[in-house]
C-alpha cells in the first residue's frame, strides 16, 4: 500500500514538474508546480517526516506560491501568449545536460553501497514516539542548531528589508 501510494505521488510530482516546464502560461505553470509540491508533501508523510510535510504545505504551497501568484497577477502576465521557449539549440543542450546530470546522480544513488541505513529509521521512530512529530525536529533544532536558527531569523529580516526596498517605487 505504501509503495503504491509512493509511486502514485511520485508520478504526480513528476507530472507537475513537467507541466511546469512546458506550461503555456505562468499561471498554468504555477498550478502544476503547486500540484508537484503537494505530492512531495505526501511523500514526506510516507517517509515519516510529518512536521516537514506540514510546513511544506503551509510555507511552500501556501505562502510562497501565493506570493508567486500575486506577482503574476500584479504584473498581468500571460495575457498575450507568446512563446517564451528558447531556440532549438538551447532546448537540445538543456535536455542533454539535465538528462546526463540526472542520470549520473541516479547511478550514484543506485550503487549498492550508496545508501546504508545507519540506524536512522530507528532513531526517527524513537524520536517520533517520545517527542511527537514537532518535538522530533524541534529538540535538535533548539539544542544543536540554535545559532543557525537565530541566523535564519536574521536572514529573514534582511530579506524583508531588501524586498521592501527593491519593490518600492522610490527610495
Amino acid at each position: 500500500m505504501t509503495t503504491l501510494l509512493f509511486y502514485l505521488f511520485a508520478a504526480l510530482a513528476l507530472g507537475g514538474g513537467l507541466g511546469m516546464v512546458l506550461g503555456r502560461t505562468p499561471v498554468a505553470s504555477l498550478l502544476s508546480l503547486i500540484a508537484s509540491l503537494f505530492s512531495l508533501a505526501a511523500i514526506y508523510v510516507l517517509l515519516d517526516a510529518h512536521f516537514i510535510a506540514a510546513i511544506q504545505i503551509i510555507v511552500y504551497a501556501g505562502a510562497i506560491m501565493v506570493l508567486f501568484l500575486f506577482v503574476i497577477m500584479l504584473l498581468n502576465l500571460g495575457h498575450d501568449y507568446q512563446r517564451d521557449l528558447r531556440e532549438f539549440s538551447w532546448i537540445a543542450a538543456g535536455s542533454v545536460v539535465s538528462g546526463l546530470g540526472g542520470y549520473a546522480v541516479m547511478r550514484a544513488f543506485r550503487a549498492e553501497d550508496a545508501v546504508t541505513d545507519m540506524g536512522g529509521s530507528l532513531l526517527i521512530e524513537t524520536a517520533l514516539r517520545e517527542l511527537n512529530a514537532v518535538g522530533a525536529v524541534a529538540v535538535p533544532l533548539f539544542r544543536s542548531y540554535m545559532v543557525p536558527f537565530e541566523l535564519a531569523s536574521l536572514l529573514l529580516l534582511v530579506a524583508i528589508v531588501g524586498a521592501v526596498l527593491l519593490a518600492k517605487r522610490r527610495v
Partner: protein, 97 residues
C-alpha cells in the same frame, strides 16, 4: 523506498535544470529554482531515514532560505518590470558584459 526517493529527487532536479535552461520567462525560471530546492529537500528527508533526524532540520533551513529568496527575487522582478514592461530575460542585459 529510500533509493526510490533519491532517484525521484534526481529526476525532479533535472526537470528544474531543464526548465531554467529552456524558458525565458523570469517568473518561470524562479519556479524552476523552487522545484530544484524541493528536490534537494526530498533528498535530505530521504537521507534522514538513513542517518537521523538532522536531515529534517536541514530541510527547515532550506525552506527559510527559499522563502527569503522568493521574496527578494520577486521584488527584483517587479522592479525590473517597472523599467522594461516585460519579464522576458532577453531584455535583462544591464549586467551582461
Amino acid at each position: 523506498m529510500l533509493t526510490e526517493s533519491l532517484i525521484l529527487s534526481a529526476i525532479l532536479f533535472s526537470i528544474g535544470v531543464l526548465g531554467v535552461v529552456i524558458r525565458r520567462n523570469a517568473i518561470i525560471l524562479f519556479m524552476c529554482v523552487e522545484l530544484m530546492l524541493n528536490a534537494v529537500n526530498l533528498a535530505f528527508v530521504a537521507f534522514s531515514r538513513a542517518v537521523g533526524i538532522e536531515g529534517q532540520v536541514f530541510v527547515f533551513f532550506v525552506m527559510t532560505v527559499a522563502a527569503a529568496e522568493a521574496a527578494v527575487g520577486l521584488a527584483i522582478i517587479i522592479s525590473i518590470f517597472r523599467h522594461t514592461e516585460t519579464v522576458d530575460i532577453k531584455n535583462f542585459n544591464l549586467l551582461r558584459w
